[in-house]
């Protein structure tokens, strides 16, 4: 049986790990390569780096982090943040990323999704969507790391990028991110039940039960979390053991 994937995410700024609460108040939590190695040995199913480095001058540090991680961790590595062009994707893949996640650039230039999927294969292209509730069963997407609102409907957008060849949706609830009150399972199930490609749940996980809900209520194929792992509240193994006890298939 295909396993539900547990994906620790590292927010990386100029080569260092940080995690924001509601996208601000960043706290340093260490060296990304070392963290990645720990997650790898603990049984993470994939790793995710989100580069939040503001200045493109400091981008080179990310490539170095990706390269070192890929040399040490033999599980899939997704890298996102500031990916704007085919060339950006190409450079990340050549430094050892397995998948690249695109957020703002895909919203501003939807053609990029089809081009990237055609060139590198759908399975390489993850579309990251930051969604905020806008009414009953309605969410709008935000760009620029959650700073810029748009009037684009999240569900319609996810359907469109799936049709254009995206391989996966990384769906972050802006309302839940950093709150630790659980995933927005309504958002997840609305999107997941409308598209064929896998949806990765993100934003809001605070305890073990939230992971279970993300699968059972949200219909997520994979569950992403950041701070819950970084600060040692729960290990990857804790999460997987708990999911297995609830009869959810995980790789132990």
């Amino acid at each position: 049986m295909l396993k539900k994937r547990i994906i620790p995410c590292l927010d990386v700024d100029r080569g260092r790990v940080v995690k924001g609460v509601n996208f601000v108040d960043l706290i340093d939590a260490g060296d990304p390569v070392e963290q990645a190695k720990i997650y790898n040995s603990e049984g993470a199913d994939e790793l995710c780096f989100l580069d939040i480095t503001a200045s493109s001058d400091d981008r080179e540090t990310l490539f170095e982090v990706v390269k070192k991680t890929a040399e040490n961790c033999f599980i899939p590595l997704t890298v996102g943040g500031g990916v704007r062009t085919i060339d950006d994707i190409s450079r990340l893949l050549h430094h050892g990323a397995d998948k690249v996640s695109i957020n703002t650039a895909a919203v501003e230039n939807i053609d990029l999704v089809a081009k990237a999927a055609k060139k590198y294969g759908s399975s390489t292209i993850v579309i990251a969507v930051d969604a905020k509730k806008n009414g009953d069963k309605s969410w709008n997407i935000f760009t620029h790391g959650g700073r810029k609102p748009t009037d684009i409907d999240a569900l319609e957008y996810c359907i469109e990028v799936a049709n254009l060849g995206a391989g996966e949706i990384l769906l972050t609830s802006m309302d839940r991110d950093g709150t630790k009150i659980g995933f927005d399972n309504e958002l997840l199930s609305t999107v997941s039940s409308s598209i064929d490609i896998p949806v990765i749940a993100s934003g809001g996980v605070g305890n073990l039960e939230h992971f279970v809900e993300g699968v059972l209520k949200g219909g997520a194929s994979a569950l992403l979390a950041a701070s819950i792992f970084h600060f040692g509240e729960y290990s990857i193994k804790d999460v997987k053991t708990y999911l297995a006890e609830q009869n959810i298939a995980v790789r132990i």
Binding site: L2, K3, F74, P76, H95, G96, Y120, G121, S123
Partner: protein
């Protein structure tokens, strides 16, 4: 001994290279690992690895775009019968044809065709993530337990014409070919380079394999 990893611009080349290097460094008699697309170097290979991600046709075109690349592969694999391993699309290319984006001819080294995964509506496509692999006993699967999880990412799969060429399967929920073998020609649908310690074991087995 030379192990050549074919570089034709495949997205997973780096990962494959690094994983093979990591395993190779632990061998008593490590290989010289060479990443190349130069026919003269390929002709001197003792073992070959063909990575591949993306669309079947794009991969095939990329290989044929490089002058003499396919011919040198054929000479080493079919002519000299050196051990060959294809990974993901690199494995699918062994088929006679693929039906992804219209019909496209493959290498035709193992009879069968590459077709879309058929699964009930609540099964996500691509088949992405860790799934259990069941296999026939073979040296290439030494020190791997039945039902071990490996990392898959694909929407199409290789349906071999002969059962004997399919040595491993996974379920989604129907049976899907996970590995193929015909004499010296081997391929995995899953990504050993992304399958953690069990993936490294698969690579070790290939490096130690002497096809008879």
């Amino acid at each position: 001994m030379k192990l050549v990893i074919i570089n034709y611009g495949s997205g997973n080349l780096h990962s494959v290279h690094k994983a093979f290097e990591a395993v190779n460094n632990n061998l008593e008699n490590p290989y010289d690992i060479i990443v190349t697309n130069t026919p003269s170097e390929i002709l001197n290979a003792d073992k070959l690895v063909l990575p591949g991600v993306g669309a079947f046709q794009d991969c095939k075109n990329a290989i044929h775009k490089i002058d003499g690349l396919f011919e040198s592969l054929e000479e080493v694999v079919i002519g000299k019968k050196k051990a060959f391993m294809g990974i993901c699309v690199g494995m699918q290319l062994l088929a006679e044809k693929s039906l992804e984006f219209g019909e496209c001819e493959g290498f035709g080294w193992i009879p069968g065709e590459v077709i879309k995964i058929e699964a009930p509506a609540d099964y996500k496509i691509p088949h992405m993530g860790w799934n259990e692999v069941t296999f026939r006993n073979h040296k290439l699967l030494n020190n791997i337990s039945q039902n071990t999880d490996f990392y898959f990412v694909h929407s199409y799969y290789f349906r071999t014409q002969k059962n004997e060429n399919c040595i491993a399967t996974t379920k989604y929920p129907n049976l899907i070919t996970a590995a193929v073998l015909k004499e010296n020609i081997y391929g995995t649908q899953f990504h050993p380079e992304k399958s953690h310690n069990n993936g490294k074991q698969i690579i070790t087995n290939f490096l130690e394999w002497e096809p008879s």
